[in-house]
Amino acid sequence: MENLSLIMAPLFSSKLLMVLFLGTLFGLILGVLPGLGPTTGGALILPFTMTLDPLSAIVLLTAIYCAGTYGGAITAVLINTPGTPAAAATCLDGYPLAQKGEAGRALGMATVSSVIGGIFSVIVLIFFAPLLAQLAYEFGQPEYFALAIFGLTMLASIGEGSPIKNLIAGAFGILISTVGKDFMTSIDRFTFGVNELTVGIGFIPVVVGLFAISEMLTQSTLLNQVFKRVALKAVKLPSLEDYKKTWKTILRSTGIGSFIGVLPAEGGTVASLIGYAEAKRWSKKPQEFGKGSIEGIAGAEAANNAATGGAMVPTLALGIPGSATTAVILTGLIIHGVRPGPDLFREQPEFLYGIFGSMLIANVMFFILGFFGAKIFARITLVPNKLLWPMIFAVSVCGTYSLSQSILDVWIMLLFGVIGFFMRRYGFSVVPVIIGLILGELVEGTLRQSLVIFDGNWLMFFTRPIALTFFVLSFIALIFPLIKKKKK
């Protein structure tokens, strides 16, 4: 009962409600704009959160995360272009249904299934995050090392694209984290005599570069692309018949999304693809998929929004991000002096319950805003790229500069923009770089501390049951793509 009142606390704070509203609104706008999304948006908004207290800052970021994930569906249905990668599967049936003159029905189903997925995943978060945090008390340095390795191998295994390329990208991310003074011995590494590099490469310049600037370069190659927009009269709530057709799909995809979200992988993107594939597999009319199936929309949207709460579980309980956006949220937590992990659950439960409650309310808010405002949000896509991207560049540059007031950060952002563009062009996902960068210090630190504990004996890792379990799971994660390929 006491916990419930803590969860509902944001409802009684006008400041938090205002922050939630703004976060939801901003998240929807970001989600609607192709190429942007909650990850880039969260990274750009991070400097502004410095003017807020820690809870308001994280509430703002989580609201952007929830609403941004849903917002991608609006563009997916109306212009056949996913606003966010997580909405890619929604295009497959959303746009064909909209072309049949049922854009309102398609968006209604996307909205309802997103909200159900989102709310269920927050419930998963409320129950599982404290349990996982409790379990984390059993973790020592070797266990954390093994867990981080497991996270990276999962990312390579079930993330988008080639597992080997994902592994290279993850290793590259960890390598970036080694730049600067070694935190244990104060020896300079890869600083090239540049004083500012001794503190390392910041997270924000890399994220903004890899997501916003590389997307700007990508957009520069797509200037002749023409979007065919489908007219939208109004969003319609699904009919009783639609509910009958889709309730099982929504429940299944919600479960899939929540589970995938908990794994340190690409969160919503992978979840929506699996949710869509499973919806098709279990459907009585699989032949309708790709031609405007309402089940297809429900399967993809319930799964990608369910991944939001799931991805917050390891982020809050272990400090290991479940997706690229939660990596940004994790950075926000650290910037505001909040260290995620089991101690956070014991020492600041009101803070965590505030986040849980805010995520629940954000889901309700984007339902209302999406339902009544989809038509207006859809108009945002009318802003031409030739005006939009120079503006995003200006905000990216100032936002990156503002965190450390370092011009070097701006150069780093541009460099990673170019690297990100070529990575994406040749099939390397940029998400593992982000996760690698954020996990890098943990991986190296726990490895070295473990070796101190084990007196340099590497084999001792395998004498710890939890660490051994994670290593076995990592091994399975690595060979899983090979087995899958052989089966195909």
Partner: protein, 168 residues
């Protein structure tokens, strides 16, 4: 079937060093090798201060892993060629050039002048020819961003010919 044969023929017709898979793998291995060489120049700590491993060991291991995995993806690409990417359009190179121009202008003249020049260049070459919109994107919006960051975050931007005028 024909498409597959054509694709294979198209890939076979190119010498290996022109293929994307070779170029990408070569660049990754080349840069990683240079970085690996650099790790040998890192200071070595005496055993008493050595926490588990030397500071250079971890980055060395990562670079070796990257090199080995890159060899592996190149090996896989021999039997399973990468799809040929389209040639990059001029608009891409213009955008890239405006990034370089931005670096020079913001370093030697003014940070905000750099943003303005880039915004106008990109917007113009991406197809915006109306003067009023170029002014909005290149001047009015950067001014709004400047004031917003300056007043809300209390940020002090790097000195330059325009920024100095503002700060007096």
């Amino acid at each position: 079937m024909n498409n597959v044969q054509n694709k294979k023929r198209a890939n076979k017709s190119l010498p290996f060093f022109f293929k994307d898979s070779f170029i990408v793998s070569f660049i990754i291995i080349f840069i990683s090798s240079i970085l690996l060489f650099i790790t040998f120049t890192f200071d070595i700590v005496p055993p008493i201060l050595n926490r588990g491993i030397q500071p250079a060991t971890f980055p060395k291991a990562l670079l070796v892993l990257i090199i080995l995995l890159t060899f592996f993806i190149y090996y896989l690409s021999i039997n399973n060629p990468w799809k040929k990417e389209k040639k990059l359009p001029n608009s891409f190179y213009i955008t890239l050039f405006s990034f370089i121009l931005f670096i020079f202008i913001s370093k030697f003249l003014d940070f905000f002048l750099g943003i303005s020049v880039l915004s106008i260049l990109v917007s113009y070459f991406w197809g915006e020819k109306r003067l009023i919109y170029l002014i909005i994107v290149g001047m009015i919006f950067p001014i709004i961003v400047f004031i917003f960051f300056e007043t809300i975050l209390g940020l002090r931007f790097p000195p330059g010919i325009i920024t100095n005028l503002y700060y007096g």
